[in-house]
């Protein structure tokens, strides 16, 4: 049962061939069995989950209408607020924070009767590409326990890949859903900026952050998107765009669809194995009748510096509220107020977070604002325009998700610049606010390779359409041996 899809579980539940309680218990068993090795979970809400499953079963037994995700065990990244539960962002400075409210996505999941089974590990405050920056523990890649699951939503990706839950939520600021999805061989979707409410997502970089799902197949992805998308009055950046039923986009003929391959995304730094598997998928697309052509996105090469300036600037401000007075960690000894701030933050934040706070503080300071922050905003606009032009030529853009397969612990941890390159294919999408998915298309050296499909604004449906066609042809059915 562990590796069934959510939509299969849904069918079984409706046909009453299995109860929600059984499904949830089996998930909890699986977590008990494998999570000691993977370390995806920070906390499992065993009792609550079983209670909630029972009430779903009761509803089904009484013939009451249940939500679209009824009875399906899932888990959330630990930067999404869950009422009366801890939300720590895997940081010492938030270790004691219990949220008094639900994030909008959590409210929607609860309304759809999904069973939230626990909180998932992540890079501290979602900063990182390997989940090595968690202040609590390192999550391992289910395909190879000596390798990283990717980051920052490594826990979310690993938990789905290992069959612990049927889907999970993560957040994507520069690739934090797609890159770990790629490294763990699951589907990870970053919707258009504003498609999913950020209310209740502890902000890293407000203008780039987006919540999205991890699933095992494209159909599940569409199902979850159906639940979490939509305008939210509590988030003024949330888009007022109708949410269609995304499942209607699946299994469609993609003949004549125009697919662009940006040559800059296939160049230097991409592993041969990754390139090979992605190109195989592209060949499959051609067989299905897609019109594939090479395009050029030269501005993309500026995405990484723009990303680090904008995201660090926003982070330096967003994280200012963690001052040692409220929430979690507070230094024991201090001289005065400023000293309390300094000591609490020095100890409470990990080194990657501090690195970015300093970078952001520098970029926003009065002497450097124009040279860095303002200039980054200008380049951001150029990147957006470049994508807009590209989408006049093609319907979708396809590329590798990550330049390499999962790497070993410590391999890049000491070299931040090398680590930052893990997100080179995903970051431009966040800069432009576009939707994109990563889906597994093959293995290289026994490790999953992800393909990224980027769509125009609010074209999630089109992306899903292409993804479901590719899924059928490549028939990725690898499972981790764990």
């Amino acid at each position: 049962m562990h590796f069934k899809y959510a939509h299969e579980i849904k069918d079984l539940l409706i046909k009453k061939e299995v109860s929600a309680e059984e499904v949830v218990k089996s998930s909890i068993e699986r977590i008990k069995e494998v999570d000691g090795k993977i370390d995806a979970f920070l906390e499992v809400f065993e009792e609550d989950a079983i209670e909630n499953a029972k009430s779903v079963d009761k509803k089904i037994a009484n013939g009451e209408e249940v939500g679209a995700l009824a009875g399906i065990p899932m888990a959330i990244k630990d930067n999404i607020c869950l009422k009366n539960q801890k939300t720590t962002c895997a940081s010492k400075i938030l270790e004691n924070f219990t949220s008094p409210y639900d994030a909008t996505v959590v409210r929607k999941l609860k309304e759809s009767d999904a069973i939230i089974i626990g909180r998932l590990n992540m890079d501290e405050f979602a900063m990182g590409s390997s989940t090595e920056n968690s202040s609590i523990k390192k999550t391992k890649n289910p395909y190879d326990l000596e390798r990283v699951p990717g980051g920052s939503s490594g826990g979310s990706a690993a938990s789905v890949a290992a069959g612990e839950v049927y889907f999970s939520l993560g957040s994507d600021t520069g690739g934090s859903i797609r890159q770990p999805a790629s490294l763990c061989g699951v589907v990870g979707f970053k919707p258009t900026y504003g498609r999913v409410s950020r209310y209740g997502l502890v902000a890293f970089a407000s203008s780039l952050d987006q919540i999205g799902p991890f699933t095992r197949d494209v159909e599940d992805c569409a199902l979850v998107l159906n639940t979490i998308c939509g305008k939210d009055n509590l988030d003024s950046t949330s888009a007022n765009v109708d949410v269609e039923d995304f499942t209607t986009y699946l299994n469609k003929d993609i003949k004549g669809i125009r697919v662009g391959l940006p040559k800059e995304y296939f160049g230097e730094g991409i592993d041969e194995g990754v390139k090979r598997e992605v190109e195989k998928a592209v060949e499959a697309l051609k067989l299905l009748g897609a019109e594939v052509k090479e395009i050029s996105l030269p501005m993309s090469k500026y995405s990484l510096p723009v990303y680090y300036i904008l995201s660090s600037s926003e982070a330096s401000s967003n994280l200012a509220r963690f001052d040692g007075i409220r929430y979690g960690y507070r230094a024991d000894e201090f001289e005065d107020l400023v000293d309390l701030y300094v000591k609490s933050r020095s100890i409470g934040f990990g080194s990657e977070v501090k690195r970015r706070i300093m970078l952001g503080t520098y970029a926003l300071s009065s002497g450097y604002y124009d040279a860095y922050y303002k200039k980054a905003l200008k380049v951001k606009r150029l990147i957006i325009e470049e994508f807009k032009r590209a989408f006049e030529e093609v319907d979708l853009i396809v590329s590798p998700t990550s330049p390499s397969v999962a790497f070993k612990f410590g391999e890049k941890a000491d070299d931040p610049l090398k680590m930052y390159l893990s997100d080179v294919c995903t970051v431009p999408v966040n800069i432009a606010g576009l939707p994109a998915v990563s889906m597994p298309v093959g293995l290289s050296e026994g490790l999953p390779v992800g393909l990224q499909i980027i769509g125009n604004y609010f074209q999630e449906g089109k992306i899903l359409s292409l993804a479901s066609s590719i899924e059928k042809i490549v028939n990725f059915n690898a499972r981790p041996l764990i």
Binding site: S99, Y101, D235, S236, T237, E314, R321, Y327
Partner: protein, 475 residues
């Protein structure tokens, strides 16, 4: 060398909205600590601000009333600084793009009407309030997220009196438009001042100091007087003025250094990424314009033109919306505008000032004042009696006719009755008759006084004068 002051003001006004700027919490003053709070105004992790449209309405209203341009596309910005009562450690405000800019206020100064220019009006959120108890400090976040506008003037004021007049006028405009309740004691209107001095006639600006948080008109005037004097003395003693922030210490009557420029913050302003651009279209502005009340300046002009009031009267009556409303209701009740104005400028304001009361506190109705004036004009009572009746009205709220009737204050206009009193007084004061005949006109005044006294003030003064003249000549 003679010096002149250069003064600019920054005024924070709390808006009269029912809910806070970025959430639905109430803005009501008071309340048990931390009861008017939610994740948003507590700045909890994950909470997001959503701009309250009413805040923009009020800010636009203020902008129109202060003759500003309304900027159609603006954005909110973050001002970053660590402070215990700021829940997010940044304040959401406006920086490069204020909602309103380039306005002015006209102030009636000794040298005539003067325009004080408004540089900008922007919207922002208030912080919480620190409470100290022994060694411990606590924060009450009830105020956190209360909407404010900050009104920044150009350095156009040249004296503490001018600054005060401007501040009073501004307050009156904010009250007229109901943009703010302007309760200074509750902190809903606060004033900071930038002040420098320069040799009179010079065009250059001197080094300025900033004085923080003056929360009364008197404090503003006194603080500026002190600070200007301090700066002049410093310059005369060959000292340099340093750019610094000072605060007004009411008890010491001094401005005191808070921090120097070296300690100044780098606020690292940048556009608030949790919010979209604020776009205001013409319809929105027109809608607010069409619902604007008549403002003090318009009223003043109308009073001068339509009611022939002196400029001084018109200025004073229109300075308070409530006083103007009282005046207009009296006029609507058929009173002569000039007589009503005389009464307001005289007895009404004097009594209010004596008792430290507002016009809204009076018990009698504007129509009662009109009745009182009519009683005088018809000759039913004398002016002197009228003042007594007014005092009674003020105290009890009774109608003037009732008071006159109950106390038997009707004026005596019966020639025979007055002639009797005149003769009685003359009989009692032979010396005064003698003095009068010897050319001492003062004696006449004394006799009139005695007659009025004998009639308990009720004798018609014209008749008294006429009959006294007749009778004294007979003797």
């Amino acid at each position: 060398m003679e010096f002149e002051a250069v003064i600019g003001l920054e005024i924070h006004a709390e808006l009269s909205t029912k809910s806070k700027i970025f959430c639905g919490c109430t803005t009501e003053f008071g309340g048990e600590v931390n009861t008017h709070c939610c994740p948003v105004c507590l700045g909890l992790p994950g909470a997001l601000p959503v701009l309250n449209k009413a805040v923009v309405d009020y800010a636009i209203k203020a902008g129109i009333a202060l003759n500003c341009n309304i900027n159609k596309e603006t954005y909110m910005a973050r001002k970053n600084y660590f402070y215990p009562d700021a829940p997010k450690n940044y304040q959401i405000t406006q920086h490069e793009t204020p909602l309103c800019s380039e306005g002015f206020v006209e102030v009636e100064t000794e040298e005539g009407l003067k325009k004080i220019r408004i540089e900008r009006i922007h919207i922002e959120e208030d912080a919480g309030k620190a409470l100290h108890e022994g060694d411990a400090s606590f924060i009450d976040f009830n105020r956190s997220g209360v909407p404010l506008i900050e009104i920044v003037t150009r350095p156009d004021m040249r004296s503490p009196q001018e600054a005060r007049m401007f501040f009073e006028k501004l307050r009156s405009i904010l009250l007229y438009t109901e943009v703010s309740d302007c309760k200074m004691q509750e902190g809903s209107l606060r004033c900071d001042a930038n002040v420098s001095i320069r040799p009179k006639g010079s065009k250059e600006f001197g080094v300025k100091t900033e004085i923080k948080n003056m929360n009364s008109f008197k404090a503003l005037e006194k603080a500026l007087e002190f600070e200007i004097e301090r700066q002049i003395n410093a310059v005369r003693n060959g000292e340099r003025i340093v750019q610094e922030t000072r605060r007004w210490d009411e008890s010491k009557g001094q401005t005191i250094v808070m921090r120097s420029k070296e300690e100044a913050h780098d606020y690292r302003y940048f556009p608030e990424p949790d919010m979209v651009y604020l776009v205001v279209d013409d319809n929105w502005i027109e809608d607010i314009k069409s619902n604007m009340p008549e403002l003090p300046d318009q009223k003043r002009k109308r009073y001068i033109e339509n009611y022939n009031l002196p400029e001084y009267d018109a200025e004073i009556i229109t300075a308070s919306k409530e006083l103007a409303a009282f005046f207009e209701e009296a006029v609507a009740n058929g009173g002569n505008p000039k007589s009503i104005s005389n009464w307001i400028m005289g007895e009404v304001l004097r009594t209010l000032n004596d008792r430290e009361m507002e016009i809204t506190d009076v018990k009698f109705k504007p129509a009662d004042l009109v009745k009182l004036i009519e009683l005088v004009e018809k000759g039913t009572i004398s002016n002197t009696i009228a003042k007594k009746v007014f005092a009674d009205m003020f105290e009890t709220g009774k109608q003037p006719e009732k008071i006159v009737e109950e106390k038997g204050l009707v004026q005596i206009s019966d020639e025979g009755a007055i002639r009797d009193i005149v003769n009685k007084v003359l009989d009692e004061n032979p010396q005064s008759i003698e003095d009068f005949k010897n050319g001492k006109t003062k004696a006449m005044g004394f006799l009139v006084g005695q007659i009025m006294k004998a009639s308990k003030g009720k004798a018609n003064p014209q008749l008294v004068n006429k009959l006294l003249d007749e009778e004294i000549r007979k003797r």
